[in-house]
């Protein structure tokens, strides 16, 4: 049924239809509307589940671990600082092989504290052993949750569904919300591979030393490779059953004869596609590659989708301060370094808008891109702070100095 709703609401409705049995959550902007909606559904008994208001994100993931190990379908959601706070448990869940599904409403990590969108939170957990699926639209965010439970349970691996905080969670868009019967037909009951059962007791979570740790980790690696196939098959099955493409590994757009391809994750892809359409109209041979699955990294699919493009521009909403681009590294590893030029563009950090205008300006001169550039960087602001730091040892906290420099920001639009 078509609805005009906030992204968070769409996700809550999708999750509810997946019949989770235990939902546990700790509030953090911008995930709050998702868990509020789910708690209301549990409270008024529209959704038959246990809802635990936990005392921290660490507790949230821990409750999910206990619930999943006991054989229940478990769900939680978080962002940014919360994801970091539960980080130990995030890795634990993957190591234990528990098919928990978690929404990450992507938000920047502080300091400085910032409630707006970027991908640094999910990126910080990219090696935790979870699958990471990125939604381009609210429709896809909704759809990916339905797929996520099925993928997670088939593989016994936890899955993170990433959706841009505010840009998707707080945006009202038109979505097609499936019927309960459709979801039930697509998502079978949870049949655990391992479960705490007094009738057949097992010990889960033993220490493993040098004699077997490598093999345990190798199995995890193998499961990730298997996930590439499972994700593809699930997306295909979803398309067949629900009648629309959603998820999968990558989504190319006008890459057929492209000389330049812009690769990106998440909602920025929409803006990029609009920009690319304008550039195409001006004769540029440019295309877009949406990376829908980031972990496991679909190296083969990426390489294939890039086709003969000589130049890949990776638009990143996160930064590895010690090295530069994060997704760039994965893309570089997938490609033949001789054949392609790769440029990293860091954009949209901490919620700065990525505009068609700026993208157009950048991509129209793609040939002049250095290996790493920051979109819309205010060099004057940076230089003035550097000057302050050179002038005195006790120059004060840099972020505060720079904010003061900017003056009133409340009325900024872009």
């Amino acid at each position: 049924m078509l609805k005009q709703v906030e992204g968070s609401r769409a996700v809550a409705e999708a999750v509810a239809m997946c019949r989770p049995q235990v939902i546990c959550a700790y509030p953090i902007t911008p995930q709050t509307h998702i868990v509020e909606a789910l708690s209301a559904m549990v409270k008024d008994e529209t959704l038959n589940a246990e809802f635990l208001n936990v005392e921290s994100e660490f507790a949230a993931m821990s409750v999910a671990i206990g619930a999943s190990a006991a054989g229940a379908r478990a769900y939680t959601a978080t962002a940014s600082q919360g994801l970091l706070y539960m980080s130990e448990a995030v890795w634990n869940a993957a190591g234990l092989g528990l098919p928990i599904v978690m929404t990450v409403a992507n938000r920047a990590i502080g300091a400085p504290i910032n409630i707006w969108n970027d991908h640094s939170d999910a990126m910080s957990q990219r090696d935790a052993g979870w699958l990471q699926l990125y939604a381009e639209t609210n429709q896809e965010a909704l759809d990916l949750h339905v797929q996520a439970f099925r993928i997670a349970e088939e593989l016994s691996v936890p899955v993170m569904v990433c959706m841009d905080g505010f840009l998707l969670t707080h945006a009202s868009e038109r979505v097609d919300v499936p019927a309960q019967t459709q979801v039930d037909a697509f998502l079978p009951r949870y049949e655990p591979r391992q479960v705490l059962d007094p009738a057949e007791p097992v010990s889960i979570g033993a220490m493993v030393g040098p004699e077997a740790f490598t093999e345990v980790r190798y199995l995890a690696y193998q499961r990730m490779r298997q996930a590439l196939d499972v994700i593809g098959a699930t997306a295909a099955g979803f398309a067949g059953q629900f009648g629309r493409p959603s998820g999968g590994l990558v989504r190319p757009y006008r890459t057929g004869d492209a000389e330049i391809v812009v690769a990106a994750l998440g909602s920025v892809l929409g803006t990029v596609k609009d920009t690319v359409d304008e550039l195409r109209a001006d004769g540029h041979k440019i295309g877009v590659l949406g990376i829908n699955t980031y972990r496991p990294f679909p190296a083969d699919a990426v390489r294939e989708a890039l086709g003969g493009a000589r130049h890949v521009v990776v638009l990143e909403r996160a930064l590895a301060p010690g090295s530069g681009g994060i997704v760039t590294a994965d893309i570089r590893a997938a490609l033949d370094p001789q054949a392609r030029r790769i440029s990293t563009v860091i954009a949209g950090l901490g919620g700065r808008a990525v505009t068609r205008k700026s993208l157009r300006g950048l991509l129209a001169q793609a040939g002049e891109l250095p290996p790493l550039t920051f979109l819309d960087l205010d060099t004057g602001l940076v230089d003035r702070e550097l000057a302050r730091m050179r002038a005195a040892r006790r120059s004060g906290p840099s972020p505060e100095n720079m904010l003061r420099d900017l003056g009133i920001t409340a009325s900024r639009i872009g």
Binding site: N48, I204, G205
Partner: protein
């Protein structure tokens, strides 16, 4: 081993391992049919109080629940020595997640069982003092606050033993640990405020809180069993001496635990909904020095010189416990024990000792 009932024709004696008692009065451990939830072959040290306490407690819970139980364990000695890869000594369904989250994971298991309509299966969360008092405190408090249906058991050996005897929030004043060494002006652990988790549990007004030690098997079994009569959050705090960390003889574990209770340093009591309902009286009171002397972690209080002022402070703490929890029947006079009479102290509100 199959359960066998043994008939003895001698009566009126407790001599033969209490098998002469009526069945319902026998300890769980005395029955051949006990579950051995934690069975032999684990790698605990000789004389480990925690291995003993865990077996006592969990076998009692196993009987009380007819085996319908799941245990969630924090990282620590118990988890490590019970599951040396590729073996496990657990004969019950058992989950280990992390160090600081056992109460939350247990809450999750309980929620799942409820969601699946299996509230016949009961949940025990357990961990050492480190995982409970320090790093697990937030999760523990959350579990209490939500009144999740979990019995949480803390095996308190008063330091982070598994990682090499470092000080925890449960380490008593003056005790030597690897991070509160017996050197300097104030050797051993500093005198702080302590963190009385049974009282914290009582402050949450949960249904049942109790303390116990491995010195009194029947009392411990009774409390573990009683706890399973309740639903909702429950807390059991068990003192489990660690010969290695405490520097006591492995054969002295039960003796050390008994001295802890008889000196008044470890009060043994039960509480419901925030008020003490019973306390175990001290039968033969001893000065704290009897307890301190047999543990090398307190050796610096006696050699090279006796630190009388520190010992006096420890004694005062024991005296306060005795008064506060009513551990001495009123008619025991100072002459008999050779100790000053306990100073009456106004009981803090909520201990429920008014009128005792």
């Amino acid at each position: 081993m199959p359960y066998q009932r043994i008939k003895f024709y001698q009566t009126g004696s407790l001599a033969v391992g209490n098998r002469l008692l009526a069945e319902d009065q026998r300890s769980v451990q005395s029955t051949a049919g006990r579950s051995n939830a934690l069975t032999c072959g684990h790698r605990a040290c000789q004389g480990c109080g925690e291995a003993l306490g865990a077996r006592y407690a969990l076998d009692a819970v196993h009987r009380a629940t007819q085996g319908q139980m799941i245990a969630v364990n924090a990282t620590g000695c118990l988890e490590v020595f019970s599951t040396p890869f590729p073996e496990t000594s657990w004969q019950i369904a058992w989950l280990h997640s992390l160090f600081g989250n056992a109460p939350a994971v247990a809450s999750g298991v309980a929620a799942a069982l409820k969601a699946m309509g299996r509230t016949d299966i009961r949940v025990v969360g357990q961990g050492g003092d480190g995982g409970t008092v320090d790093i697990g405190m937030a999760c523990l408090s959350g579990m209490f606050e939500r009144n999740d249906d979990v019995l949480y058991i803390c095996y308190d050996n008063q330091a982070y033993m598994n990682t090499g005897v470092q000080r925890s929030g449960a380490t008593p004043p003056a005790a030597r640990t690897a991070t509160t060494q017996a050197v300097g002006r104030e050797p051993g652990n500093r005198f702080g405020q302590g963190k009385n988790v049974p009282l914290i549990a009582m402050a949450h007004e949960i249904g049942y809180v109790a303390t116990a030690t491995v010195a009194d098997l029947r009392d411990l079994e009774y409390k573990a069993t009683r706890a399973m009569d309740f639903h909702g959050a429950r807390y059991l705090h068990i003192l489990v001496p660690c010969p290695l960390g405490w520097g006591s003889a492995p054969a002295d574990t039960i003796k050390v635990a008994r001295l802890a209770t008889e000196s008044g340093l470890f009060p043994v009591f039960e509480a419901e909904t925030g008020a003490v309902t019973s306390s175990t009286p001290i039968r033969h009171r001893v000065p704290v020095t009897d307890y301190l002397r047999i543990q090398a972690r307190y050796a610096h209080l006696f050699r090279p010189r006796e630190r009388t002022e520190v010992i006096a402070r420890i004694q005062a703490a024991a005296d306060r416990n005795i008064a506060r929890f009513g551990l001495m029947p009123a008619d025991i006079s100072a002459e008999r024990t050779g100790l000053p009479a306990p100073v009456p102290v106004t009981s803090p509100a909520g201990l429920g000792l008014e009128g005792r």
